[in-house]
């Protein structure tokens, strides 16, 4: 049994703070499931600490955060940093409403990918896979 084992990507999905628009996240969860990934769904009202704990315990490969209330410039860098501080090499993908003018700032903050409205299931899965593929580089 000297073969390498293949395993599905495990991704933690959450919404941070008081943003209550979770329909998009639920749809994304389903898209990723259908792309063969294991989705650890945390849902609404999460804190950065809760996400970090989940990533540690679930040994997740990626984090997906959904944002619809313009908190992305505050919250996305915070979660990237919290993961880094915890020594976790886990890419963060952000989905939701992110104006194009903020994309550069998001990339600078270390966000691995941004998915806007209208992203197809294919776009979502590809974005996560590419983000995971950059791990450890």
């Amino acid at each position: 049994m000297n073969k390498k084992e293949n395993a599905p990507i495990r991704i933690v999905l959450a919404k941070l703070g008081l943003d209550g628009h979770d329909r998009g996240l639920k749809v994304v969860a389903r898209m990723l499931r259908d792309a063969g990934m294991e989705v650890v769904y945390l849902g609404l009202r999460q804190t950065t600490e809760m996400v970090v704990t989940a990533v540690e315990q679930e040994d997740a490969d990626a984090v997906g955060i959904s944002m619809h209330n313009a908190g992305h410039l505050t919250l996305a860098p915070r979660i990237v940093k919290a993961l880094e501080d915890a020594g976790l090499d886990v890419p963060v993908v952000v989905g939701g409403i992110v104006p194009e003018s903020d994309l550069e700032a998001m990339a600078e903050a270390g966000v691995a990918g941004v998915l806007g409205p209208g992203s197809s299931a294919e776009d979502v899965a590809t974005c996560v896979r590419e983000a995971v593929a950059t791990r450890g580089e």
């Binding site: 000297n2 849902g43 976790l88």
Partner: protein, 325 residues
């Protein structure tokens, strides 16, 4: 389906030793990684099993199973939270089904386990996967990891559909079966399966009509059945409304009473030796089926021979082989 190659470093001994060391110092990320190694099976899983086997055997393992939507997660969450708040260091292994079509899964148990997690319980979600050897191989190994690093009790939560899921939960020291108010009638209660493995019944959602009927039907079922090999006493029935917190103290008390009864006598060693044998069996099944797989893949159809006779011939040849990879 997209698959990712596991970095080969994981099978290097040095990595494993440092993971085990860190895990024994209480590093939860290392515990998380060791669980992944076991879940993925193969060589690394074997190495983790060797490293954790002698360290384990101290923890009380609780299995919670029942139909989808019966309230297992909510009950598990309440139990884990209360244990974490008091002097315990509980771990939860929450198993959810993988999609048979895509292999993906949505693991939603953490949604209900927020408070338990904040109180310090270690929660790990797991998909049933079609992974090498399946659930029956991975779950005991993962429980052993928790056990080896001081988590106690360990709660396995599985959906009570499918023989493997039921088997996995019933390989616990204390087996809890959750049903709901108005879930069926006396005939349902006498159907075999899930109900025969219980050490403790929970009738949940008692705010709905039918809780006392469900209780009566279960009592009747228990009256009529002989104590099964596994039971140490007549299974208790607890009525709860988990979402309102009603009946939870009785639920915890019943679990602890069962545990004390188990650990008082020889029951625990009888049960664990049975479990040990069952695990050897599922590992053996797995090894044999892996070898058989190759013989079957290379097989050419012989129209003149019956499938049974070909299988016997293959088995004879395999038994001559003295080497299992």
């Amino acid at each position: 389906m997209f698959v990712r190659q596991w970095p080969p470093v994981a099978s290097e001994d040095s990595t494993l030793i440092s993971l085990v060391e860190k895990a024994s110092e209480g590093d939860r990320r290392s515990v998380g990684r060791l669980l992944t190694l076991v879940e993925r099976g193969g060589d690394s899983a074997e190495q983790v099993a060797e490293a954790t086997h002698t360290l384990s055997g101290k923890s009380h393992v609780i299995g919670i199973t029942g139909a989808p939507g019966a309230g297992k997660s909510t009950l598990t969450a309440c139990l884990a939270r209360d244990l974490a708040v008091s002097e315990y260091k509980p771990a939860v292994l929450a198993v959810d089904p993988s999609s048979p079509l895509t292999g993906g899964a949505i693991l939603g148990d953490r949604v209900r386990m927020e408070e338990a997690s904040e109180a310090g319980a270690f929660i790990r979600s797991m998909a049933t996967r079609g992974h090498a050897g399946g659930l029956a191989l991975a779950v005991p190994g993962m429980v052993r990891v928790f056990d080896a690093f001081g988590f106690n009790p360990i709660i396995i939560e599985t959906v009570g559909v499918g023989q493997v899921e039921v088997d996995v939960a019933s390989a616990a020291d204390t087996v809890v079966v959750v049903v709901t108010s108005g879930w069926g009638d006396a005939v349902q209660a006498n159907k075999a399966g899930l109900l025969e493995i219980a050490d403790l019944f929970v009738v949940n959602k008692a705010d709905r009509p039918g809780a006392s009927d469900a209780r009566r039907d279960l009592e009747l079922m228990i009256d009529l059945s002989q104590l099964t090999g596994q039971a140490v006493r007549r299974p208790e029935i607890v009525i709860t409304t988990a979402t309102e917190g009603e009946g939870l103290d009785e639920f915890k008390k019943a679990i602890f009473e069962h545990k004390e009864l188990l650990f008082e006598g020889e029951q625990i060693s009888i049960r664990r030796s049975k479990r040990w044998k069952a695990e050897v069996r599922s590992r053996l099944d797995y090894l044999l089926s892996e070898v058989a797989k190759e013989s079957i893949e290379n097989l050419e159809e012989e129209k003149s021979s019956s499938p049974g006779s070909v299988a016997r011939k293959i088995a004879k040849n395999l038994l001559k082989k003295d080497e299992l990879r």
